[in-house]
Amino acid sequence: MPSQKQLMKGAEAIAEAAIRAGCRHFFGYPITPQNEIPEYMSKRLPEVGGVYLQAESEVASINMIFGGASTGARVLTSSSSPGVSLMSEGASYLVGAELPAVIVNIMRGGPGLGDIAPSQSDWSMMTKGWGHGDKRYISLCPATVQEAVDMMSLAFDLAEKYRNPVVLLGDGLLGQMMEPVIFPALSEIAPEQSWAARGKLATRPRVIVRSLYLDPAELERHVDHLYDKFARMEREEPRAETWMCDDEPPVLVCAFGTVARIAKTAIGKLRGEGLRVGLWRPMTAWPFPVESLQKAAATSDRLLSIEMNKGQMVEDIRAVIGHDKPVGFWGRSGGMVPTVDEMMNAIRGQFANA
């Protein structure tokens, strides 16, 4: 039933989308607010001949992902902020060993144990700080359940294209909301053979999946090679949406994920009041869509970044815009979801500042 629309919870839709994209192996550890993903996988994967395995920890999950990815299989894990912190070492190993894998982070409030409410406070971790060493991860930021579904097959394709882990970065709202979605047809993907450790073949040299390069000159060459890939990602993979910007509005709101949806409602109402506001929404946290932002910002007087954190994406925006024009920030943290009314007030403030 590839084209039939069905109503589904975000987390379950993400899980089903992974299976449709050819993922048959899931390793994970329970954590709120994303438990519907492993629960769905534990029931659904055996139906399609796949394997669901509950790991003893997120540390074990990401290392099971490492082993599974080493065989060329499409492997998935999902977690939420504290669990994703625990996976950071393994993620760095995946980059170093050039292994494709998809990691879903349904963000919750932090720091520490924080809470289980929706948050966007892992932006900096995923774009800059996840794990040790010189590394990058493509991070996809869906705003709707349908977009999350579409981005799941893209995530696996990109992971294999670059042989690098890819992150699907959502929040508790996206995981819990129910929306109508259309899934692609179920696909079977044959595991990669050329670089995968599946047993020594006569047709190729022995495979050693590793991230250790004891000779500094050799490691530098390896990291240079990784950065060649990252540079290509920066050229080819930035994705962004520009909305209500045709009339060159003086105020440009910047928001990602579910916050961008709330922002659209707020902007629509402000437009009704006659205030000209536009929206710029990155769909990739990294690579950050620099050119798209520059283009959208070119005709505006000031920018306002709205986030469910204390101001993380705004640092990337300021790095692009520099001192050319004011870049403001407004947000809620701790798992508080901004209301349309308070967001409208924050945006009105930009006109008061003008």
Partner: protein
Amino acid sequence: MTETLAFGRTPLLTHNYMHYCPGCTHGVAHRLVAEVIDEMGIQDRTIGVSPVGCAVLAYNYIDVDFIEAAHGRAPAAATGLRRTLPPDRYIFAYQGDGDLASIGMAEIVHAANRGEKLTIIFVNNAIYGMTGGQMAPTTLPGMKTTTSPGGRDVAQTGHPIRVCELLDTLVAPVFIARGSLSSAKNTIKAKKLLRQAFDLQHQGFTFVELLSTCPTGWGLSPTDSLAWLDRNMLPFFPTKTFREPGAMPEHTAAYHPDLKVRD
């Protein structure tokens, strides 16, 4: 006059120069693993997992496909291999005592408890070798290391962990044994344990501990190290087969509780 070859190079060992210290038993352990794989004719179906520690470079010497795991995570990485590869593959992880019994204790216990169809080779030399001779979870009471300069104080740091005995409390494993590499005779016995483990691997979790030496870390000559192992490690770490099919302990009997929840 004909010449008879008494001992040849193990076919599955590469020609790479081994980085191990003189007298270290890693080389012997590698050879045994390579011989078992060769004798079983499974080179093309075997994938190894190397640890973090002295044996991280095991893939330089044993000529099969390999992956290199993060510190302590070899059983989890091996689980990832097992759950994605065709069932005819043989998968082994090779770990030291710091890797397996300290940072990786959760992963080894849970892989064993799940009955993952793996062979884990546990090289126990009672010390961290790669990092320069620090105290390990298997360091003996009173034993001097660079981080227990006055000797391991059990009042502060506890007693050495007996991993075989600990894993033997679990239901799932099908083979658990401890051997020693302290003499030619013991080494021959140890090889038989490895062969048993590989033979049984497709039935469930198999585990072989090999008591080993670290002459550099211990500050002893290679021959003194072998004698030290026999004298000091064997009394605390007895060499025996703890678990094998046909000799399963009482606590491994099938258990069917009559609990109905969420029905």
